[in-house]
């Protein structure tokens, strides 16, 4: 009893404590900006120190507010509006905590908290440094923090303070509960992963602004923020993949990517970040592209905001019926103002942004990097165009229209394949200008191997009879030429073959780089080949980590080619005992089952999977019924997945009655997804390569 009373007592003040912390953080962020500016302009170290402390204070205050909200979730404080919105008493503890980012207000607070953590880490990393660059970087970080603090205060119409209680003092009996679709592990971790990726992108941007503010436009700001950028890139890679994996497992449409505005919003900063990771190398090696790098990182940062703006303001997905909030305009205002600020600084520092070198040849590593940048930025703009088409078309044609998935599939494929080729060509082409010798040694062998592989793939497709592409759906990715470009009315898998060629070319070119380097080390150190390979990677983690990322990319492409281009789909309505086929597999609905779980009820059917008359396995697709209090009346698809080598069989069920008997018609949708596991493996290799690259300490810390 005592503990319960205490709990109620504490509940009575935590929300207010959190709100107070948010209002105080407004002051600390303002003070950080003010005192850092004064300190850096007048070279007053005590002001700079005070500014750093204010950044730490903001971190502590926002941590208090976040903890107060989590406390509200864990203790089921249903006097708080946000807790009622996304949590319920029956919700498992994990999902009570992840409910923190289940909705807008809470996710903004979470975003802000991560941003204050980033600020705190920048302070701690540089507390002993004599160098003021990081102090300059704290100014933009604090400004972005201030923007988000204002958002969570509840002053903006339509976005309430996540710690607010119901104004009339009412207490709800139970919460509405987190959307059941979000109650899966990959959805619990997908949003925070993306947030962490987006927020760590703020730091390199802040260093770019710091470079402009301080006038030190050299490579310092890039080196100082290099690991932040890589960290952001790795986390975004993981986050985007988790989202695709969630969609694949939960949504029942057998795919992992549909060019949905939300997906695009997460993908665009990743593309720009990838472009930036490459272009900074040219600035380091050849002192070119200074202006471009600053613009690129600014754009990447702005796209993290644009992504939030697109997905949260309701301007795009007209499926959202919710009332307009002022948040969209507020975001747009901040995006415009901060962009103008950076442009003003660029004009101010114009003289120092000149390149010290010029491009010497169209065929050189520099120009391959520049082409890579062009394509990545171009892809971003294309995706933005497609995502914003509903608005653009309304503005120029007066009619609201939108483009389907096939638009994206068809426009990204050519730039995408050139990029794939560049992942192999970039690392082996020489700096400044290609030489005949370089071409002969580095390009001819991989091209020959690539051509041989393409020939084999062509024969394989012909023998299997899938030169004309099987899947009936609108997705023609890799499989078909764009309509109107077909040979004599027939479809021909030219993109698949180009993808095979480029993939093998890249694998061979990069593989030879590893082989040559490792052989050299093996000889010099008198050791085994594997040891030599380890030494090679260890001595230049950045370079070889990067190459490993490239290998991962190629593998992802192969997986996308197989799963997007050659999947099979069959639908049927089955009764118990009936069967259907997909490819060479025979599925028989042989049993039904029902299970009671903590906050849902699981019902489904069991399929026997046969191939050539042999029973392979059983698969148990189901539906989850969330009928408990506060869960609404929802049921969700729970697909069953069976791996066959790198391919997967995937079954999803249509609506089911709670009790399935012999006469029940069950709607079944079965996919055969070739090479889909290759996608996940490729991403894992990309992440591994990124981790190797990030392990290298940057030169500036080494030399100091």
């Amino acid at each position: 009893m005592f503990i319960e009373d205490l709990l109620v007592g504490v509940q009575g003040v935590t929300a207010e404590l959190g709100q107070a912390a948010i209002f105080l953080s407004l002051l600390s962020a303002l003070w950080a900006i003010f005192s850092l500016c004064i300190g850096l302009i007048n070279r007053r170290l005590n002001f700079v120190r005070s500014g750093r402390n204010a950044v730490i204070a903001t971190l502590i205050l926002i941590s208090i507010a976040t903890c107060a909200l989590i406390f509200g979730f864990v203790t089921d404080d249903f006097s708080m509006m946000y807790v009622v919105e996304v949590s319920s008493a029956a919700q498992p503890l994990l999902y009570k905590i992840t409910a923190l980012w289940g909705h807008m207000s809470g996710s903004l607070l979470f975003w802000l908290w991560l941003l204050t953590v980033a600020g705190g880490v920048v302070v701690l990393q540089n507390r002993r440094s004599q160098d003021s660059l990081a102090d300059y970087a704290l100014i933009p970080i604090a400004i972005v923090q201030l923007f988000f603090i204002v958002l969570v205060t509840g002053w903006i119409e339509g976005v309430y303070n996540p710690l607010a209680r119901f104004p009339d003092g009412q207490i709800a009996v139970d919460g509405k509960g987190l959307n059941p679709l979000l109650q899966t592990p990959s959805m619990a971790f997908h949003p925070p992963t993306l947030y962490i990726g987006w927020i760590s992108l703020t730091v390199p941007f802040a260093f770019a602004v710091a470079a402009l503010l301080s006038g030190r436009i050299g490579s310092d700001w890039i080196l100082r923020s290099r690991r932040w950028m890589l960290f952001s890139w790795i986390i975004l890679t993981i986050g985007i993949t988790l989202g695709g994996h969630w969609a694949y497992q939960e949504l029942g449409w057998g795919g992992y990517w549909a060019w949905d505005p939300v997906e695009n919003a997460s993908f665009m900063p990743w593309l720009l970040g990838t472009a930036y990771l490459h272009s900074v190398m040219i600035q380091e090696k050849r002192s070119m592209l200074k202006l471009w790098n600053i613009l690129l990182i600014t754009l990447a940062f702005q796209f993290t905001l644009i992504g939030t703006f697109i997905t949260r303001s309701g301007i795009i997905t007209s499926v959202h019926a919710f009332a307009q909030s002022d948040m969209g305009g507020y975001f747009l205002g901040f995006i415009l103002l901060s962009t103008l600020g950076v442009i003003a600084l660029i004009v101010y520092r114009w003289e120092r942004l000149r390149s010290e070198n010029r491009l010497e040849s169209l065929l050189s590593r520099e120009s391959s990097f520049i082409l890579n940048n062009w394509l990545l930025v171009g892809l971003t703009l294309i995706i933005l165009w497609g995502t914003l088409w509903p608005i653009i078309s309304e503005a120029i044609q007066g009619e609201k229209a939108s483009v389907p998935e096939s638009f994206f599939n068809q426009v990204v494929i050519i730039p995408g394949l050139i990029l794939l080729f560049l992942t192999g060509a970039g690392p082996v082409i020489s700096w400044k200008k290609i030489t005949p010798n370089n071409f002969k040694r580095m390009f001819i062998p991989p091209i020959i191997v690539g051509l041989i592989a393409t020939g084999i793939a062509w024969i394989y497709l012909a023998v299997r009879g899938i030169l004309e592409i099987p899947n009936q759906l609108e997705s023609s990715f890799f499989a078909r030429l764009p309509e109107g470009l077909t040979f004599s009315g027939e479809t021909f898998p030219i993109f698949s073959l180009l993808c095979v060629f480029a993939s093998v070319f890249v694998l061979f070119a990069i593989g030879s780089e590893f082989y040559r380097g490792a052989k050299l080390r093996t000889k010099r150190q008198q050791t085994t080949f594997l040891n030599g390979l380890g030494l090679l990677i260890n001595r230049n983690k950045r370079r070889y980590g990067g190459y490993i990322v490239h290998i991962g990319i190629v593998i992802v492409y192969i997986g996308i080619m197989g799963s997007k281009g050659y999947f099979l789909l069959e639908s049927a309505s089955l009764k118990l005992g009936e069967s259907m086929g997909v490819g060479s597999y025979q599925l028989t609905m042989q049993d039904t089952f029902q299970e009671e779980h903590q906050n849902y009820f699981r019902a489904g059917v069991e399929f026997g999977v046969m191939k050539d008359g042999n029973q392979k396995t059983t698969m148990r697709p189901a539906r989850h019924f969330y009928h408990k209090a506060g869960q609404g009346d929802q049921d969700t698809i729970e697909s069953a997945i069976y791996g066959i080598g790198m391919n997967e069989l995937y079954i999803a069920l249509g609506p089911l009655p709670a009790k399935i008997d012999n006469d029940t018609d069950v709607n079944v949708q079965v996919y055969y997804n070739p090479l889909i596991r290759v996608v996940w493996i490729g991403v894992a290799i990309m992440v591994l390569g990124g981790l190797i690259a990030i392990a290298e300490r940057s030169e500036s810390t080494k030399s100091s």
């Binding site: 119901f166 919710f322 088409w389 029940t664 018609d665």
Partner: protein, 143 residues
């Protein structure tokens, strides 16, 4: 020196023009018009046999799901008026969150004579559960 810059400029220009051309051509080819049920009903004959999108809510009591034939039929109603358009969706799973009064986004081919869309894509959002609720409670909060 000058020639090299010209070459670089020309190469970039070609790349840019090609990309812009590709994007515009694809937009033109794939773009589908977007309607509310009221707009579509008012301009039915002009849009006969066209691929288009309709955005509205699932009319209460209109949906029937024929499990044996794997067929979902319902009417999508305008948010502001009583105009409806019929929808038929076959051989695909009924999406999660498909409830009366919920928001629905339909893509498919329109048949003016039957005032019906043969849908190729259905997207649902449970309006009451999503941000709509949030914005109503926020009005309370700001008062």
């Amino acid at each position: 020196m000058k020639q090299r810059r010209l070459k670089i400029f020309a190469a970039s220009a070609i790349l840019l023009v090609a990309m812009v051309f590709l994007v515009l051509a694809m937009t033109e080819k794939t773009s589908v018009l977007h309607f509310t049920p009221a707009e579509l009903v008012a301009n039915a004959t002009e849009n006969d046999k066209q691929n288009l999108q309709v955005d509205g809510v699932i009319a209460e009591g209109s949906s029937t799901w024929d499990a044996a034939n794997f067929k979902l039929t319902f009417a999508v109603r305008d948010r502001e008026s009583s105009d409806t358009v019929n929808v038929i969706y076959e051989n695909r799973l009924k999406p999660d969150n498909f409830t009366d009064g919920g928001s629905v986004f339909v893509e498919g081919k329109y048949d003016a004579a039957k005032n019906r869309i043969v849908a190729t894509k259905l997207t649902t959002k449970c309006a009451s559960k999503y941000e709509g609720a949030e914005s109503t409670s926020s009005k309370k909060g700001s008062s």
